[in-house]
């Protein structure tokens, strides 16, 4: 089936070969929403089924021991304890706030820097080595450094996340501004636009959707660093729950927290998408 869809012979893009339009998989085929949902559910269901199968039966008869992976039923059964005794929702709130604060701080720095780098080649040349260095930096090594600079409290966590966010966001912001076609700039110059006007009226407005998209992608990154951020003074937050459950159990809570992180990340991503549609309706129509 895939061979027909792949369309091996080179053909002009605008006129797809008949083979590209036929078969089960078609390139950029518009599908109804229900189908999109259904197709999305299948892999999740398969994953759950595999999990269920691998953890079926007595502890000793299972494919994977409960000391490594508890069964779905065991995980669900431990939810009340996580919810009530370990204050799941409050900890989600704490972690979420940290991510938001770190993100806001990062954008405050990365946005002007990124725009300047995208607009002015000299600024770009000056900062590129730093951003390249940052992109390859193993972030965990920065934990002790942020400790000595910002102490052990809330400040350190937010600053650490802000650092991780900025490293991720700056190159994306630069790329967004970079992507603006020269035609627009030339038109602006022809009309006699000043430097400020060119940046403010041409470069920025055109790159807004891409910048927004970068922020949407970047926001998710915070959750992957939450464990590192909450390694110190891990009294509250989801990272703290995972770290201490690894030591003293229950294992179930580790998996539950993961599920909740995914859930929160998914919901916030939906929110970003909804706001994006509202802000940039023209972007949705491009496809």
């Amino acid at each position: 089936m895939t061979t027909t869809a792949a369309g091996g012979s080179p053909s002009p893009r605008r006129e797809p070969a008949p083979s590209a339009e036929a078969g089960l998989l078609r390139i950029r085929e518009p599908i109804p929403a229900w189908q999109s949902w259904l197709l999305g559910i299948v892999p999740v269901a398969v994953l759950l089924l595999v999990w269920f199968g691998a953890t079926l039966g007595d502890a000793e008869a299972r494919l994977i021991s409960p000391t490594i992976l508890p069964s779905p039923a065991e995980v669900v059964a431990s939810l009340p304890q996580l919810w009530f005794e370990r204050e799941l929702t409050r900890n989600i709130g704490v972690s979420f706030l940290r991510v938001v604060e770190g993100f806001a701080l990062a954008v405050a720095v990365a946005f002007p820097l990124g725009v300047f780098m995208g607009a002015f080649t000299k600024v770009k040349s000056a900062f590129t080595p730093l951003t390249v260095f940052g992109a390859y930096l193993p972030i965990p090594t920065l934990v002790p450094l942020t400790l000595s600079l910002f102490g052990t409290g809330e400040m350190q966590k937010v600053m650490f996340l802000a650092l991780a966010f900025s490293i991720y966001l700056v190159p994306l912001f630069v790329a967004a501004v970079d992507a603006v076609d020269d035609t627009y700039l030339k038109t602006a110059y022809t009309l006699g636009a000043s430097k400020g006007q060119t940046v403010g009226r041409v470069l920025l407005p055109i790159s807004w959707p891409d910048i927004y998209q970068a922020m949407r992608l970047g926001f998710g990154v915070g959750w992957s660093y939450i464990l590192l951020a909450e390694m110190v003074d891990m009294g509250r937050g989801l990272g703290g729950i995972i770290l201490s459950s690894q030591r003293r159990g229950p294992r179930e809570h580790i998996y539950l927290v993961l599920v909740f992180i995914v859930l929160v990340a998914f919901l916030t991503d939906r929110l970003w998408a909804a706001v994006g549609r509202w802000l940039f309706p023209y972007r949705e129509e491009k496809r």
Partner: protein, 576 residues
Amino acid sequence: MEEQQPKVGPTALGKLVLFLFVLACIGGAAWYFRDLVAPGGRGGAKQVNLDEFKKVEAPDTKGVTTVSEYKYVPGEKLPPVKGVSAYKWDAQQKVVSFPINVWIGWLPIVAANHGFAPSADSVFAKKHGFKVNLKLIDDPVVARDAFAAGDSHVLWGTLDMMVLFAPDLMKDSRSAPRVLQQIDWSSGGDGIVVRGNIHGVSDLKGKTVVYAQNSPSQYFINNLLLNAGIQPSQVKHKFTATAFEAAAAFVADKSIDGCVSWAPDIYNIPDKVKGTRVLTTTAEANKLIADVWAVRADFAKDHPDIVKGLVSGIFEGMDQLKDATFREKAYQWMAEGYGMQADQVRAMANDAHSTNFGENKAFFLNANDPANFERTWKNVTFVYRELGLVDTPTRFDEVMDFSVVQDLDKAGTFASQKDESRTAFAPTSYKKVSAESPILTQTIRINFYPNSANVFEPQHDENGKVVANTLYDPSVSATLEKVARLVGQYERAVVAVVGHTDSSMKGKGTRFEDVKQLSSDRAEAVKQALVKKYNFDPNKFTVEGKGWDEPANPDDPMNQALNRRVEISVYPPEAK
């Protein structure tokens, strides 16, 4: 598409009002059900019943023997192994996968194994017919996961870590940990560093301490607090993932008053950071943190000979290390395995005290040893249960497997390795000892019969006649047990036993000398009871009677029930 829809429905203002209304409804509902949506849990100020501290065991009214061996067979109490063994094993190669952390206590096994890699020259290969692969896995979580997955056969850890790991690991009877041997006591390797304003544990009240959660550090500090009669909730705890970060946090953050960490950090900080000092280390609390290893239950069941060979080989390694040249070689092997310099390894030599066969015998077999497996396990369990870290604790005899040590004892294989670790104390006076401030003071209350100094005084009937087989203070054994554990943990420290009386007869013709004598006799009685049952060195104690001179609470000097007390103060050995 949207612009094609006819303009019906609410206006923009109407939409806003509707939106706000819905938002208010959701908000109101969330507030109403706030205990369900975002419950507060059981955090906050948890009050520990400090009296429970001594009630971990049923009172033992006989308790006057010094050595009492366990009578049961380990197999009766250990959870049976079910199912098919689930560890990786090559029956041809016979290589035991034995992860270790960076810790000098592993020197005997490194010595016996001639390095980290499986070796045909090792004691294990030559004498016991299998090989050992020592792997550096410093992260306890990774070590635990490799053990649970059957990737490694052995789990390294301190006994307090085993208390936390055991309930989860025992969900699968095959990965239940069997602790067969003690490697060492931490002896200077763990410690507490504080800022200058902290002179003893009692000064920590209301202060902030930082340490690695779910680690020996957490056990160390909270055991100390509970022993000093301080509720853990009276201290602000900050948690880190590792001891290294705890030390870094303490150095970086001046608002933190103390940290629990490891050597060499605990000794480096006072050198580098002005105004900090070491409060106490396991150099004094030298029988508090026990390093052990556990083997998977299914492996122990399938390969009893290999498990016995492991235990024996490590004891043989201890013998080999007595040779100075060989010891240097072992340092070199260890340095290679850790990727360190031999000098760095040698510098760790004083962090731990290897426990030879005689000491293992005391730890595993002697039910009356004040710092044996059972007491250490129960003490850890108590501390962690009070902190809410363990819900359903594991019994000590579900984990402790003394079968190999008992076998070796019967065979007399290591009879030459005597328990020579006991600290020798010179007689000392209270005046000399109390010149410095104690690390901690524990206040105990024994209900003495009026004018009597006998801790085991029976009850008296209305005519003053003794009632046989009764105790005036039925909880006296439990109280002594509590003291014995503390004194046992601080094996190397000097202990002052100070008796106090109430002042009910003050100004009623009673001479102060008599009262002073009575308080001194009572302190002496406590000391004698401890020495008799737990076989402590009498010179470890110094006894003082204060009479009615020092009321328990200076603001409430007439609270006579509080005033009748004995105080147990632990002093650093330097104070001798």
